[in-house]
């Protein structure tokens, strides 16, 4: 399988804790950009950026409008906006209607990423108490990308990964530690998806 160009991770209730277990393990230099769309209250502001940045070797940035998408960086979708990607590999923000009662909506970003990166996408869907992201993960899979869900039994809220599983067959079902190992292996080019 060809090498992937972007990793996109979605999650809702419980997902910040999962990312706190994963991101600190990643090295400073990571070969592809990682985009995080985690539901959270807009009033939290960029606190998540501060939380993650203090514990991670890899830079974690909250997305600003038209920010370019680079490797060696984790990008956080800001609260209150949908996150889209442009053809020139930069971000656009969008304050339009909520989708799946969510803004940012994971489906919206997954669909936008597939539109630009086609089959060069690794999609990961984590714990959450709604069904946002399931459709987008199916689209990633149907477009030739690689898909992972957090195992429902390790999810604080299994509804989100289960919703995905009910409409598609993910390539892998992993617990947070295994997701962390999967990502670390990408830096060593030993993962199943880009072997």
């Amino acid at each position: 399988m060809e090498e992937k160009e972007v990793i996109i991770i979605g999650g809702s209730a419980g997902s910040i804790d999962v990312m706190m277990q994963i991101l600190p393990n990643l090295p400073e230099e990571f070969p592809v950009p990682i985009i995080l769309v985690l539901h959270r209250r807009p009033s939290i502001g960029n606190l998540s950026e501060i939380i993650f940045q203090n514990r991670c070797k890899i830079p974690v940035l909250e997305v600003e409008d038209k920010m370019p998408i680079m490797k060696n960086t984790v990008y956080l979708a800001p609260g209150g906006y949908h996150l889209l990607v442009e053809k020139n590999h930069s971000f656009s923000l969008d304050f339009s209607e909520k989708v799946n009662h969510s803004r940012p909506s994971i489906d919206v970003t997954f669909e936008s990423v597939v539109d630009i990166y086609n089959d060069k996408v690794i999609g990961i869907l984590l714990t959450g108490a709604n069904t946002d992201g399931a459709r987008g993960l199916k689209l990633i899979k149907d477009s030739g990308g690689y898909t992972i869900i957090q195992s429902p039994e390790t999810s604080m809220m299994p509804m989100m990964p289960e919703a995905a599983e009910s409409i598609m067959k993910p390539d892998q079902i992993l617990n947070p530690l295994e997701i962390s190992d999967f990502l670390i292996n990408i830096t060593k080019k030993k993962c199943d998806c880009c072997a």
């Binding site: 600003e64 409008d65 906006y81 969008d94 459709r135």
Partner: protein, 277 residues
């Protein structure tokens, strides 16, 4: 689960439609953010059950009434009163006291949509005792939303959320004193409307039309590409005297623009600048 359609229209077709719209109606969408614009078009096609690009193209070009609906649907008109209470807190504490030194205060809400932010501003001004000597110019590309904004009435269901926002931004009065509930609508007081001027204005094509002490343009530039953003920020700079304020949305910036040096930062977090030269 949502049924949002995946792309029905491709990039070439977006370009073609953009070209046809410009030639037929003079609206120029070529420097809009492509990701967002394409998504909005797909959404229109899905909502109006338009199965193909050919049919959409025909409808938009041949049917002006539909084109007006199309414009309303592809331009984002999501807004609320006192959105981002922290922003209004800074307006109240840092900007409005400075504005009070002018005998006549002119404010421009560029891309005002259905007007929620204009009424929010008017409330702040009233509470500062400045409403009587302020003119609020509110413009949008879209005539339909301007009519809604000018009607003074908003869905009553939204008032609970707006009241919370109002309190969170330091509002000290009873928010419900500012409107009258009528048949599911909250109709705002005439005294606010009397200080507002609503007018169509296209940020892409139109020039500066006045000088303002404060320009607010929040979450409009995100729908434009960098070239058009730069052009619009320059238009704002040309429409501000020295010491005039510019306020953008929480994730928008002027730092990349050719006129960035004309401004000093007043509040980094809330994206407020002041013209210094």
């Amino acid at each position: 689960m949502n049924n949002e359609a995946i792309n029905i229209i491709n990039d070439n077709e977006v370009e073609l439609l953009t070209d046809h719209i410009f030639k037929r109606y003079g609206y120029d969408f070529s420097d809009y953010s492509q990701a967002s614009f394409k998504r909005r078009i797909n959404r229109v096609m899905q909502n109006f059950k338009i199965p193909s690009f050919a049919e959409l193209d025909h409808k938009v070009i041949e049917n002006e009434q539909f084109f007006n609906v199309f414009i309303e649907e592809v331009t984002v008109n999501v807004t609320e009163m006192f959105r981002d209470p922290a922003f209004y807190k800074v307006l109240r504490k840092e900007v409005i006291p400075q504005l009070s030194t002018y005998p006549l205060i002119r404010i421009w809400h560029a891309g005002c949509s259905t007007g929620e932010e204009v009424y929010s501003m008017a409330i702040l001004l009233k509470e500062a005792g400045l409403l009587e000597r302020t003119l609020l110019y509110a413009t949008d590309i879209n005539q339909q939303v301007l009519e809604k904004a000018a009607s003074m009435s908003f869905p009553l269901d939204n008032m609970k959320e707006y009241t919370e926002n109002y309190i969170n931004c330091g509002g000290l009065f009873d928010f419900s004193d500012y409107y009258v509930a009528q048949y599911g609508k909250a109709v705002f007081l005439e005294e606010f409307r009397n200080r507002m001027v609503f007018s169509p204005h296209n940020l892409v094509l139109d020039q500066s039309f006045n000088e303002f002490n404060l320009i607010l343009c929040r979450n409009v530039l995100i729908y434009f590409n960098r070239d058009l953003q730069n052009k619009v920020i320059k238009l704002f700079s040309d429409s501000l005297p020295v010491l005039g304020y510019l306020a953008l949305g929480n994730k928008e910036s002027i730092s990349f623009s050719s006129v960035a040096d004309n401004f000093e930062t007043i509040n980094k977090q809330e994206r407020i600048w002041r013209k210094k030269k």
